[in-house]
């Protein structure tokens, strides 16, 4: 029986690896998801066989039923624009589960504490619960910020890092005491509370727009928590799946940090985005604005158009309207491409998912390094709700918070049009010189509304 379980776990671990492997290209990606699903099914089957004869089946089954009943609508109702929030919520669920299982293990094993809760098992248990609880509240905070329920702005106060460090030291002391004397369970609630508090404290000084990076790091933590659970339970499958997850989170956060030209520590402790308040004092400079009608006429007479989508596209949910614009222009023989910056939006790959949702062929989505050479030959660059990723300051202004971040060379296009609601800055909180260039036209308005109007103008003209 045990052998069968072991084989099932091996198969499951292999399927998880294949799942991630197949996700490397859109062609095999669905197969990848499928492999992951089967892997999970095999793992659950293995768990039931391992727990055989399963007691409290009514508890388990009803929990599974409820979880499924909640999960399905979340997956189908959730709009694509809310993917970052959903991911954060999901992390919170996973991490909570790990923490609770760890807690239950600790109390459950008390009678046999002497043999079963010593040495590395106890270390793993403490890590599991620490990471689990911390990721739980941290992910909820991140979700709140992304959903704009909580203030986006980083909240800082004096000696913040010192306070955090002090609390952390207390948690470590408690953990060490528990590791040495696992029967001192009265200490555990304090440890758990500190861990929960910690998740909150770690996130509040981080700006809302850094949440995607934070989520990736929390993903890593959730994985490591599952890993630690594997050490507690002596389950290799948990170790493998957790490690896969941990490395995935790590790599994604590194990619994001690189694309923003910032360091890990800067994201975690930099209180980035604070400067947003200081933008009021900018001197008044002239910009040219234009109407939807004018924009439409410029677009239809262009030979090639590069659309640069950004976070505003996600906010306005303008992807389907943009699809109409794309169809319309392509029909007129205009060559339309999309320039995808690696950190446009609020998640890695955010723009790709949104545009794919609107059925825009993925070979039209061109990555930064590839498309940057095309801007000088392009008639119109149409920026829709993007800001920081087009800011030429990143190339020149050493004092700028985004200095060194690779950007899209939008300023090299013959004509630039920018759809946004105001002259307000983007996430980095800085002014964008792009808007003051002679060849730039500002199209003020909500992305969805403005694009709708442009599209309305276009067929009218076609008929004319």
């Amino acid at each position: 029986m045990l052998n069968l379980v072991n084989y099932l776990y091996i198969i499951s671990a292999g399927l998880f690896v294949l799942s991630l492997k197949w996700l490397n290209s859109p062609v095999s990606a669905r197969r990848g998801v499928f492999a992951g699903e089967i892997g999970m099914l095999v793992a659950v089957t293995g768990a039931f066989i391992q727990a055989y004869p399963v007691y409290n089946l009514e508890w388990i089954v009803s929990a599974i039923v409820i979880g499924t009943a909640v999960g399905i609508p979340i997956a189908y109702i959730m709009p694509m624009t809310a993917v970052p929030q959903r991911t954060a919520l999901s992390h919170a669920c996973g991490a909570l589960a790990a923490a609770l299982v760890g807690t239950a293990e600790l109390y459950q094993r008390q009678p046999k504490a002497a043999e079963e809760l010593s040495g590395f098992v106890m270390v793993a248990l403490m890590l599991e619960t620490l990471l689990g609880f911390l990721t739980f509240t941290g992910s909820l905070m991140a979700m709140g910020k992304l959903q704009e329920v909580l203030p986006q702005r980083p909240i800082t106060y004096k000696n913040q890092n010192l306070v955090n460090f002090f609390l952390f030291a207390i948690a470590v002391v408690l953990a060490v005491r528990l590791i040495l004397v696992p029967t001192d369970t009265y200490l555990f609630p304090f440890f758990a509370l500190l861990s929960l508090l910690f998740g909150v404290l770690l996130i509040i000084p981080i700006g809302g727009a850094d949440m995607p990076t934070v989520i990736a790091i929390l993903n890593s933590y959730a994985g490591l928590s599952a890993c630690a659970m594997g050490f507690v339970l002596g389950n290799k499958l948990l170790v493998v799946a957790g490690a896969l997850d941990g490395s995935s989170g790590l790599i994604l956060s590194i990619i994001m940090c690189k694309a923003m030209n910032r360091s890990f520590t800067n994201v975690l402790f930099g209180a980035f985005g604070q400067i947003q308040t200081s933008t009021a004092k900018q001197e008044q400079r002239n910009v040219r604005s234009a109407s939807p009608e004018e924009a439409a006429s410029i677009l239809e007479s262009a030979g090639s158009v590069i659309i640069v989508p950004g976070y505003g596209l996600a906010v306005a949910q303008a992807q389907h309207k943009i699809r109409e614009l794309y169809d319309n222009l392509m029909r007129r023989g205009v060559n339309v491409k999309f320039a995808i910056h690696p950190v446009a939006g609020r998640m890695p790959g955010h723009m790709n998912v949104l545009l794919a949702e609107a059925d825009i062929p993925y070979d039209r989505l061109v990555e930064m390094d590839e498309i940057n050479g095309e801007f000088p030959q392009c008639d119109v660059a149409l920026v829709i709700g993007a800001n920081d990723v087009t800011n030429p300051k990143a190339r020149t202004d050493k004092g700028s918070p985004i200095y060194g971040m690779p950007i899209l060379d939008v300023d090299k296009a013959h004509t630039v049009m920018v759809i946004k609601r105001s002259m307000n800055p983007g996430f980095a909180g800085i002014d964008n010189d792009l808007y003051y260039m002679d060849k730039t036209l500002m199209l003020f308005g909500d992305a969805k509304g403005f694009v709708t109007e442009i599209v309305k103008e276009l067929p009218a003209r076609a008929a004319a």
Partner: protein, 98 residues
């Protein structure tokens, strides 16, 4: 069904290597689905949750904690895989059309 620390570390090291190799090759196009897929996979703690809840000696506290854990994690699994599939399908469709 236990193992020594050495075995655990061995498995951990190997799995981390695989993770780093494989993830690095995922196309940026699919980074959002990747995030939600690994998210679903991290719900593997369902295994631990089932084992501890299904234990003969489970106390009431264990049962309640286990119940919450399973509910949370199954939500995570179901929504995670379904939404990833939903996303990935969008990319898939384009392939045939192209």
């Amino acid at each position: 069904m236990t193992f020594d620390l050495g075995t655990g570390l061995f498995v951990f090291m190997l799995a981390t290597f695989i993770g780093l190799e494989v993830i690095r090759k995922v196309s940026p196009l699919l980074h959002t689905p990747l995030m939600s897929l690994t998210n679903a996979i991290s719900a593997i703690s369902v295994v631990g949750a089932i084992i501890i809840t299904g234990n003969k000696d489970a106390t009431m506290a264990t049962k309640i904690l286990g119940f919450i854990a399973i509910t949370a994690v199954v939500t995570n699994i179901v929504s995670g895989f379904l939404i990833t599939d939903r996303m990935v399908k969008m990319f898939k469709k384009r392939e045939t059309k192209k």
